[in-house]
Amino acid sequence: MRVVIVGAGEVGFSTARMLSEEGHDVVVIEQKEALVERVSGQLDALVIPGNGASPRVLEEAGVGKSDLLIAATDSDEANIIACMAARSRGVPRTVARIHNPDYYDPEEPFARDVLGIDFVIHTEQMATEEIREALLVPGAVNVETFAGESVEVAEVILAASSPAVGKAVREVRLPERSLIVGVVRKGEALVPRGDTVLEERDHVFLLGERRRVHEVVEAVATDTKPVREVMIYGGGRIGLRLALALEEVGISVKVIEKDPERARYVASRLRKGLVFHEEDISRDFLLQERVDHVDAFVAVTADDRANLLAAMYARQLGSRLTVAGISRGEFAPLAEALGVDITVSPRLLAAGAILRFVREGEVVAVTLLESGAQMIELRVPEGAKVSRGSLAEVKFPKGAIVGAIRRGEEILIPTGSDRLRPGDGVVVFTVESAVDEVERLFAP
């Protein structure tokens, strides 16, 4: 497949890398010189310097013979123009990143019909939902939904006092019809076997039925008090959306924003939440506003460093749960070391959404994890290798595990003797190195 990507920022770059590594022909259009150099130096892709909203530049990138255009610049307008131009040149599928909700309403066919955009990536919305889900399942730092909302995978960080620490996976007592599908230890993903011993600060991925996911989390997590009060640092697009979403479910919010105009706007939008105007977050301020009493501290300013620092500060002053938004890949490994419980990356969310869109058909859902591991929901096609024998017989790779099978309305938690059938929906946890192997097994 030939793909044109407009904009080589965080989202454009990760998407380009991902698609190029999957073997697609990637053309990147970028205006900023520094970014052009970075892409040509690091990726096996054709880079064209210039404005991606310009028809001439798009022509130069060979947009007419491409199968997909992804517009991921910072400017909504440029993305929209690029998609419209591509559509008029006959590009069959277009994806655009849109920030401003004025341009995009999931209920309205406007984006598709008038702007010629098949798929809109709304990273702020995705990040908001991500954080909200995690806060609503206390104890878990991340919750993903699969198999038509009937299966959830919850990510739990094991505290020293967790009953699971020091035990082998097979000894951990979990409710029925649930299992540990993956472990990320110090940034490395691994697929647990029965004798894998769990350690403190392991990120454990628990799969279970949606309505019982709370019980599953409670079996290994120690702190499962519901979140009632949240302090949000940064009243930007994510901060405001999150505050509104949390207010809706009855969680009280405090928002800290450094721009006075924006602070006033946020305050006028919230029903009850308090908004503070504070240029730089300080120890005095955090103590004054009782950061030690809030259940969660969420740092989602536009500045990764500020987010990490504030989350660290809040943790040190006694906040129960800390969340940081991190857009640049290089900071992600730091978060773990600094004791930030949850990191939310618009970059990964966007890349995951694009991947899902590109693989549409066989792949139903993809969640990318910082460690490079993926949680994928696939549909077993007719004649796939994986359905030729039981899971043990088809040599399912060691770096991957089938977490759940959705057969019709039924959800099965498989063992090695189960055999996949065409039409099954399958939730797979896989480390980075096993992704290709898994895809080969599931190829038709």
């Binding site: 800290i256 602070a263 006033r264 305050a267 006028s268 308090l274 503070f276 105007h277 301020f285 004054q288």
Partner: protein, 481 residues
């Protein structure tokens, strides 16, 4: 300042007043009460002089500045009051000062009166009295709903601020069309009032007079005992409904007319207004039953409902002598007079929206004591009120209190006892024309000295035009180029 523009508008108002006097003249001719000449003379003279002046000062495409508006409005009310007092004075029915007082109490819809026994007064005079209030009411509605939001004064600014566009629910793009629709609404309410009161058992004359003064929330009555004279639940309910409807922002009727009933009912000020009325009625009912030993809850409720609605809207009709009530009820009713009805209505007081604003502002001040960094925009419904309004409203409240204090002190100079001095100024400033103590009686006003009467008419004007509109004219800055 454009003297020609101001003169032109004032002449138009004079001509209109003259025309208006033809109505009682016709009525006088019909009932032959002997006052025809005293209406006809000022009607013709005023009408002719006004029209002459109007055509003499007419300009094509005049430029109207905000100062012109303030001057036209203030001088206009005084001028109309002076012209409207002529029938009273010419006929020898009243001393000229009393006549001016009566006319201003009419056109400002205050309802204070020196007429002790209306039953002994000629019907055409009574009719004119009621009409002055009615014209004052429509004047104030047009001024504050159609003109003020454009020019930027008065509490309706806030109503404006509650909606998105800068010129929001005027709903028609031209002031003239807006005024026309407002007049239809006003006429509709009046006609409804006449029908309801007739059905409730009033004579046509009483029904028309009371409908006119109810929709204006004015309170002139044809009986010395006010509404108590009719002793009828049905009459009282009809008048309560009329007062509540007239204390509502007339812009909301626009919305209803446009089919946006839900939006209108969600209006923040409107709900606060109904809430205050309901809570007040219930408390007064309980107090009457507990402290004043009414025979039944229903009797307490009947008296409490009428008096609460009457004083909150500044109408000051009465069905009971609340001077004899318990202090709690009296205090509440006095408070209601100060709060008043909605902005953009014919009612008086500082207006519910300002009261809500003051309470919220105080709460926010206290919140900021605990959370110094907290950002606290003032919200009304979904809209945020610009910060400059906050300052303007606190300023308004200060001027209101200062005016009240100054007025009270000036009245004591005329040898009036302190509580009555306060009551009379409070009643004038809040456009009720009544207050606790002797101030509700016509005898009290009749006995005042001429300077005291003129002082009170000035406070009626101040209250009616929401202070700044008049006071700004008294500042040197206004006259500087």
């Amino acid at each position: 300042m454009h003297p020609k523009v101001v003169a032109n508008a004032l002449c138009a108002l004079l001509a209109a007043t003259g025309l208006a006097m033809l109505v009682p003249a016709a009525y006088s001719a019909a009932v032959r009460d002997g006052y025809l000449f005293y209406f006809l003379l000022p009607a013709l003279a005023g009408g002719a002089a006004g029209m002459l002046g109007f055509f003499a000062t007419r300009q094509t495409r005049p430029y109207v500045s905000i100062r012109d508006v303030f001057l036209i409005v203030s001088l206009g009310w005084i001028g109309v009051g002076a012209a409207g007092s002529l029938p009273y004075a010419l006929s020898g029915f009243m001393h000229p000062v009393d006549a001016f007082f009566e006319a201003m109490a009419g056109f400002t819809t205050t309802g204070a009166s020196t007429v002790a026994v209306p039953e002994e007064t000629a019907p055409s005079i009574l009719f004119w009295r009621s009409l002055t209030q009615w014209f004052g009411g429509i004047g104030i509605v047009v001024l504050f709903v159609a003109v003020a939001p454009l020019v930027g004064f008065g509490a309706t600014q806030l109503y404006t601020a509650e909606h998105t566009s800068p010129v929001p629910e005027r709903l028609t793009p031209r002031i003239r069309d807006t005024a026309k629709v407002l007049a239809y609404i006003y006429l509709g309410l009046t006609a409804g009032g006449v029908v309801a009161l007739s059905l409730a058992g009033m004579s046509l004359f009483d029904a028309v007079n009371h409908a006119l003064t109810t929709v204006a929330t004015g309170g002139f009555s044809t009986r010395s005992d006010s509404i108590a004279a009719f002793d009828s639940w049905a009459v009282e309910l009809a008048i309560v409904a009329g007062m509540v409807l007239s204390g509502t922002n007339f812009a909301l009727y626009f919305q209803v007319a446009q089919g946006r009933f839900g939006r209108a009912i969600l209006n923040h000020e409107y709900r606060a207004y109904l809430g205050i009325m309901l809570a007040g009625t219930l408390i007064v009912t309980a107090a009457l039953f507990a402290f004043d030993y009414r025979d039944s809850i229903s009797q307490s409720f009947r008296e409490a409902l009428f008096q609460s609605a009457s004083l909150l809207t500044g109408t000051a009709f009465t069905t009971a002598d609340w001077n004899a009530w318990d202090p709690l009820s009296q205090g509440l009713l006095m408070l209601f007079m100060g709060i008043g009805g909605c902005a953009g209505s014919t009612s008086g007081g500082i207006k519910v929206v300002r009261a809500v604003f003051l309470v919220r502002n105080a709460a926010q001040d206290m919140l900021r004591m605990v959370h110094p960094q907290a950002v606290t925009p003032m919200k009304l419904g979904d809209r945020t009120v610009p910060e400059r309004f906050r300052v303007a409203f606190l300023g308004f409240f200060f001027v209101y209190i200062a005016t009240l204090v100054t007025g009270t002190l000036l009245m004591t100079l005329e040898g009036i006892e302190l509580s009555a001095a306060f009551g009379s100024v409070y009643g004038s400033l809040n456009i009720t024309g009544t207050a606790l103590g002797p101030v509700g009686d016509a005898e009290f006003y009749a006995a005042l000295s001429a300077p005291a009467k003129l002082l009170l008419t000035f406070f009626m004007l101040l209250g009616r035009l929401e202070l700044f509109t008049v006071l700004v004219i008294l500042t040197p800055v206004f006259w500087r180029n």
